[in-house]
Symmetry: C2
Subunit: 452 residues, 2 copies
């Protein structure tokens, strides 16, 4: 039988996370305060405990993964990598396609990789309560589960459109004991401000972040946890790429192209950064971030200082942004509905070290169906973006005859997204055109700070 | 770190299925025709292809698993076995609890173990179209996926109450390209007969089987596939127990108690039969089938010849039954709503080689929540029955101080059952009392055939 599944032993769970900051050609731009001056890391202490801040600002290349985190990782890590032979046959490509499947975690996505780490780091700092935001529900589920493992109470502000579209993600978080609130909500000033402007607001990650941050700042017993964007989140996700590299060694192969979907950037960063270390050392490998056409941060945004949330509560970060007031259209890939992007991914994109492409919604579901019908696994709509790009690469190989090695991360399963598949199968799903006017208006409102 | 996950290599996927018939103290009773006389295996040819019939009637102890089946097994097999250390700690038991997790399959349950085998065996026999029934949707999903892998068209009759409660299971089957019809339907005489009596009928596995069998009998291009009950189905599921035994060897342990939920018997048989081989050889191990109190086939049924479906289209089988006209209450563990049970499991239960217990619905969800909050995985309601029994054993160990080894199969995840969890969490779920009158009435209508 030809090999399809490349497994690692438990002992091969990485002992360290990889910090890409150590290998950047240029140092990252500092976050700025409202006065336009670089903030001191201690300013983050209002919302993050000290061990998280240390991960956020570290320049060390390798950071040890604490044993209690690895202990819980072992519930699902190392995750399997597959050679997608049936998908290759369905496309008729000479390319070799591999994917790493993060949907095997109890929460069904890559998010627990950082949720468990963050819950543990809060736990050792004595934190007993966390607030957070969630888009599609993958991050909220992950933190609900991770919080429960370390006895931490979790309140999740869930983007309204996902709250309505995905009631079962809410039930899942509640099953793990978390409290879930639709955002925008009347619980916070940030939420009320949005509801005053638009009582029917579908919400956005930016708004939900504002609500969660506001509550953490205003309550002594509560810290905040973020599921993407920030350096420490991407750091924790590098277990994906580190394991993948080891799996490629076992398979006796190496990718020409590494692909991951990109919303806030944690799945992409976690997948691509460990390969970037090879690239920095001279190895030829393309790294492609895939985003939705309706929320095309890396491909159409401005590279500018902007706030990470809708209300401007976070420090200003230098990143690709569509403007923090932009509310992305209600596509089904809720995890990719974010106005900004990880500063690290943005910098690497700006410096042309990583590439970005934007794909339309229908094409992503078409790919998801092809994948489900050949490989068996039904992917999350976010992951369908990566599959689309991988299939496009494979089709290009079919035309050129090149037997390239294509690798992508299948970041999660689609079990909570069957409404979207149902709509696609019944012809009710539409492409959402590029929201040019809304983005232009939001970009006009960027904070007036020049990049340093 | 203490071991929590016991993995096998791909090469350790069993090469053979184990046929318990070879080790039974008494030969199985033959299926009977409507005339009360043993039927010839060739009579099954109207609904099954020859390779399936061979598996059904074989007396060989070991039957080789064809390479193309093992090739697809490798997508998720060998499945992981876990030492449930966090659950043990939550209970405070000296017992060692292990579970084998079948929810890692793309369909989310153990069902693909036989679905893939059946699709392949039909494929090599030239069958291009299959009908089947599904309760909770786990079997239908599995066959939809497996059919797609071998280019076989699949029509699924889905029990009405599950069709309504679990629209996303339907979407999942459609995503894999199957056609899904709520049962009872107007497509068949069997369905129309039930609808005439009760237009609001919630349906049952027995009714859906009638519909699927009727269509297979009446169409030359179509065969039928069953997800449980029959010998060949249990045979294919023995990969679960065979892998588990190997995993126990690796862990340096052996179970005192083996537990699995039991509806039609395939999960229980697949889990327990390989251990029964050890028991037959003198090893001490208890094998416990767990069923719902509202559909207590093994614990309250009659051991008698009865039909496998509601309309009496199947041969008569000697089994524990509540009467083929009994429509089980609409509990959330749809996969356990079957009036009968596997003849092999029934015989072993009748001969006191395996044990059976019945548990009430609320207690199963309480256990499921305890499990989710300690181990992370959210179980299917069917699997919660096994968890309940395992926790009861662990509590008994706590009282007695005995450090027993308890093993159960976690047959599937609960991602499509969040409605049920939601209802449980909000106090809307109820215990359903033993439907004594309905069962008594159905038992009165058993076919008048004396056990041979």
């Amino acid at each position: 039988m030809s090999q399809v599944k490349i497994l690692l032993d438990e002992s091969e769970i990485p002992a360290h996370w990889y910090n890409v900051v150590a290998d950047l050609p240029n140092p990252p731009a500092p976050p700025l305060g409202p006065d336009g001056k670089p903030i001191d890391p201690s300013a983050l202490a209002a919302i993050f405990p000290q061990p998280i801040i240390e991960h956020e600002v570290s320049r060390e290349r390798w950071i040890a993964i604490p044993d209690p985190v690895r202990e819980i990782y072992r519930q699902w890590r190392p995750t399997p990598m597959f050679r997608a032979r049936r998908l290759e046959a369905a496309i008729g490509t000479p390319a070799r396609i591999y994917y790493k499947y993060e949907g095997v975690s109890p929460a069904g996505s890559h998010k627990p990789n950082t949720a468990v780490a963050q819950a543990y780091l809060n736990h050792i700092a004595g934190v007993r309560r966390l607030t957070t935001e969630t888009g599609a529900g993958q991050w909220g589920s992950a933190l609900a589960m991770a919080g429960r493992m370390f006895g931490i109470e979790v309140r999740v502000f869930m983007v309204r459109v996902s709250y309505d579209q995905k009631p079962f993600r809410r039930s899942m978080m509640e099953t793990w004991g978390a409290e879930v609130i639709a955002s925008p909500s009347s619980h916070t000033r940030s939420g009320r401000r949005i509801l005053d402007l638009d009582p029917e607001s579908p919400g956005s990650l930016g708004i939900a972040i504002s609500e969660a941050v506001e509550e953490a700042v205003s309550r002594d017993d509560t810290k905040y946890a973020l599921g993407s964007v920030l350096n420490h989140v991407l750091l924790h996700q590098t277990v994906i790429g580190l394991e993948a590299k080891r799996q490629f060694e076992k398979a006796g192969d190496y990718p020409d192209v590494v692909i991951a979907c990109c919303g806030g950037g944690s799945n992409f960063g976690g997948t691509a950064f460990p390969f970037l270390a090879d690239k920095a050392a001279g190895r030829k490998v393309r790294l492609i971030a895939v985003e939705p056409e309706s929320c095309p941060t890396l491909t159409r945004g401005h590279y500018a200082y902007d706030s990470g949330d809708a209300s401007g509560l976070t420090p200003l970060m230098l990143m690709y942004t569509l403007g923090h007031n932009f509310v992305p259209p209600s596509i089904h890939a809720g995890g990719l509905r974010y106005h900004g992007d990880s500063p690290l991914v943005s910098q690497l994109c700006h410096e042309k070290i990583v590439e970005a492409v934007a794909v339309p919604q229908l094409a992503t579901f078409e790919s998801g169906l092809t994948f489900a019908r050949s490989e068996g696994i039904i992917p999350a709509p976010e992951s369908n973006h990566a599959i689309r790009a991988a299939i496009d690469e494979a089709i290009a190989c079919k035309r050129s005859g090149e037997p390239k090695t294509i690798f992508f991360t299948l970041s999660g399963h689609g079990h909570f997204d069957m409404t979207a598949y149902d709509r696609y199968l019944h012809g009710e799903l539409e492409d959402i055109s590029y929201p040019a006017d809304a983005i232009a208006a939001a970009l006009d409102q960027l904070p007036k700070v020049a990049p340093s």
